[in-house]
Assembly symmetry: D4
Homo-oligomer: 159 residues x 8
Amino acid sequence: MAKFRLDEVDHQILDILIDNTRTPFTDIAKKLKISAGTVHVRVKKMEEAGIIVGSSLTLDYKKLGYAFIAYVGVFLQKTSQTKFVLERINEIPFVTVAHVTTGKFNIFCKIRAKDTEHAKQIIFELDDIEGVYRTETMISLEESLNDKKRLMHSIFKEL
Amino acid sequence: MAKFRLDEVDHQILDILIDNTRTPFTDIAKKLKISAGTVHVRVKKMEEAGIIVGSSLTLDYKKLGYAFIAYVGVFLQKTSQTKFVLERINEIPFVTVAHVTTGKFNIFCKIRAKDTEHAKQIIFELDDIEGVYRTETMISLEESLNDKKRLMHSIFKEL
Amino acid sequence: MAKFRLDEVDHQILDILIDNTRTPFTDIAKKLKISAGTVHVRVKKMEEAGIIVGSSLTLDYKKLGYAFIAYVGVFLQKTSQTKFVLERINEIPFVTVAHVTTGKFNIFCKIRAKDTEHAKQIIFELDDIEGVYRTETMISLEESLNDKKRLMHSIFKEL
Amino acid sequence: MAKFRLDEVDHQILDILIDNTRTPFTDIAKKLKISAGTVHVRVKKMEEAGIIVGSSLTLDYKKLGYAFIAYVGVFLQKTSQTKFVLERINEIPFVTVAHVTTGKFNIFCKIRAKDTEHAKQIIFELDDIEGVYRTETMISLEESLNDKKRLMHSIFKEL
Amino acid sequence: MAKFRLDEVDHQILDILIDNTRTPFTDIAKKLKISAGTVHVRVKKMEEAGIIVGSSLTLDYKKLGYAFIAYVGVFLQKTSQTKFVLERINEIPFVTVAHVTTGKFNIFCKIRAKDTEHAKQIIFELDDIEGVYRTETMISLEESLNDKKRLMHSIFKEL
Amino acid sequence: MAKFRLDEVDHQILDILIDNTRTPFTDIAKKLKISAGTVHVRVKKMEEAGIIVGSSLTLDYKKLGYAFIAYVGVFLQKTSQTKFVLERINEIPFVTVAHVTTGKFNIFCKIRAKDTEHAKQIIFELDDIEGVYRTETMISLEESLNDKKRLMHSIFKEL
Amino acid sequence: MAKFRLDEVDHQILDILIDNTRTPFTDIAKKLKISAGTVHVRVKKMEEAGIIVGSSLTLDYKKLGYAFIAYVGVFLQKTSQTKFVLERINEIPFVTVAHVTTGKFNIFCKIRAKDTEHAKQIIFELDDIEGVYRTETMISLEESLNDKKRLMHSIFKEL
Amino acid sequence: MAKFRLDEVDHQILDILIDNTRTPFTDIAKKLKISAGTVHVRVKKMEEAGIIVGSSLTLDYKKLGYAFIAYVGVFLQKTSQTKFVLERINEIPFVTVAHVTTGKFNIFCKIRAKDTEHAKQIIFELDDIEGVYRTETMISLEESLNDKKRLMHSIFKEL
């Protein structure tokens, strides 16, 4: 699959936006010594190419009462149920990430919960999805790093 | 630790911003039938309280040539090395998430790489950090879900 | 959930009672230089608040012929059976502790038996509960520590 | 090792005391239609024989802010360090139970903590004991059963 | 269960017989300076008490073309099937030892086979017993020790 | 390696001796309708060829106070230590079988002990051998089968 | 089973052919100072004896777009299904090797795929074979060695 | 990396050669209705492009006395030793395949040996390489499939 080609300007625009998506285009234009219209066109183009999928807030989940993070490995009865089970998992808002994986698990999820009791409820919900055979949970004692900005800067530097 | 109290208006503002952080405050004001100044004040307040930590773009990593995702479990020689090792991990931009965990691993990481060869290099870098005893890797065959918006909406509905 | 507030006097009373529940209230009163009535009121209050749940003897199980301790991890067919299985487990008096756990087991039990033969019978009883899929047993070679008093003193010191 | 022989009266006395250690000896005497002196003599005898080791309160740890229970498996570098490590473990009041075990772990502990953060500190303390090679933690989502009274009644019925 | 009491003479007789069961009683008598009749009586007594169960040859299996030894762990679907499965296992002459065990397996067997191909057939026979859910095999690269005589001598020295 | 060829007569002699090593040669001769001298010659020949290694008693270990059986998997630091460690293991009489194995363990042992406490001592002795890195123990709840006679009969039938 | 006896000349012919199967027989004849007819006869004889099964090209799979190698462990529901499942596996051309194994897996396969996505499809195909209970995948980060020539030379040197 | 483009003719030539590398070019030419010179040119081109790496015989290892196949997982002390250890492994001709892998092992090998005893020697050689921490072996009971021709045909069909 052919990759979209970002040039130096695209790269610099993204580099600014990933640190603060609300940076006004006029500020970006001034910094990069280009017109605000160019910024607008470039961002639009990257959105249309599907490079920029959207934007979101980074919230402090602890302050919102969601301090409990766990990883849940899901074993299925048959892999043919993968798609169906993923749709059920998708209905549980406390599951924020889900991967089809190699190794011992069929599906590997990340959940955010209020506390042990709440985590238990979510795990039980996962366990009760039809086709789920067993789950295994690993609890996070500390989220030490959760930052895609370093990756993005690194990607843009290289392109 | 006392939790910050968000009222109905805060909640509605967040609910709009998490879907698009670039929504102009005047649009939010119109929708919620409040003044743009109020929106501004509320957002500022939530930023100062540390609820809103920042904002970021959601990019399509596949289109950027980073289609390979793996989870790497890290075993340490001594847990007293945890802090030091996390600092070293933090220097590898391809590690986007790292947790101190219970269970068999001491630290659990998520990495994004270009391909198998690149993943090997990153895993070898992790393995060569002083204090790291062994690593175990689980490869993602498909990222089926990566979405915190459903969680956020669910949190705000409940608050 | 709001925690019951224990003051310095409550703390000192508990600190005495956890070492010997049969200490007469008059002795406690003398030690703490308060009236026996106060001791009585405070204990009653802590019982009503559910802080003090009861009292029990510490017996030497080895001397009673129950020297064999094992931990049994229980795998269920479906977590929806957890409640039902716990009720069945509750009917086996030789199971003294049972937890719903994360990790590889669904339920984790502690059993006390007379010897290997008796342990086998108890494990077989657990295995034959409807909904139990498999069990895994870890045998204690020596109970080196079983003492909640240090914890209690530590809690009261801190409160 | 010769087992102490308890007769029917000892058994009935224990049966009452394990439900409430504070039951006055006169009440026990009345119930069993024996003299209070006899109760006193029998209890003394069982204490001297080491059958009754002591008495303690049953407290509600959740209400005291200690809702977090975990089991920690400890791997040693050499089993010759077992005694030394157990002495160090004994200095951590949040470890309430410790066993020398067969199977994958050398020592198996139960800990009670305030929350995830506190548990992390305790696990790190265990991990940093000299001679401890690694630990593995299993977190309790619910303490469903913790009751030695059923066992005791069962023992006395049988004797 | 009361243990049969062996005296010094019994012990010395056993000590000779375990090294060579065919030692004539007259030789034993001469060595121990007792009458052959006494030897006869003692052996008979130990047979009746069930201490001596029988005698057997020690053969060199390698020379007989049975050089392949493996340990097979058997998982059952339900432990209630243990007795039935053991009866089936008992019909396979190449299984020389079988134990009901704690830990991950329900039943643990030792097999002797001619070669890899023969071992495969035996393992498949075990796997096809009704109630057997799965097996796991560990192959012996060398039988370094198979000797109960040292144990017996050690027992008799101590008695 | 050329295998020793047993003929029909050898086979019949062994078949009788494996059930009772003390069967007089005259009895065997009568049964097989050959001379006692022939029996003698044949047994001698099989001993010289190393087919018959010796003979031993089968004792009831439970009656002798050795009811506790466990399997101990030994991990070495380096396989080059295998020979040395096997020599140390050979000095512990309570280890009756030891194999160099494939799979997770380097050496796999069977031990017979008096009880849990005794087993602990033996396991600790194994663990303290220089070069032994860790051990894992699996306890037998019941020795359901320990019989090489069926194997021997099966071998002779086939030859 | 009697092994075919290769003489020095056979050995030298094979030693040349395993490095290049297309070496003309006349070249081999010249090198070994024998007639081309002899080479022809010997090769024919080794083909008829089933020593030489065939010949094949060694291709560079990376250059052909098949850079992804994985090992897949297959668990069956019953080993009696082994033959049937192997026939199904045989229909998937991307599985290049399959073994019936001891240890945790029933069947162990090697697959070659184009990329992660393709590997997922192949694994799912394996998982959906009737009788397959679960699979576990281990991904190759680098094929460092794949060479049977050293083995063959070593065999011929020794014969 | 740009892939070499094979056309329909290349494909047909390979398709014939992978089944028998000794097929004379004139036969191929006749079959495909092209000149022998063209066949020659195409094969040369594919060799120069590195698509065709070489050719080899397929031998029957069982008939050559090498019936024992095992997979050996190698754990390293540090991944930085990977290259060094692979060089050592490369000196053991009985290791025919070696991969750097994800999952529990650092390196995963396939070995071919004469029998159990020979396999033990090879495994011990692997274990004694400097930097190798432990190995785990899985023994093949039957090589059910070892055939890259189906893969090759499938690749050429698709190109």
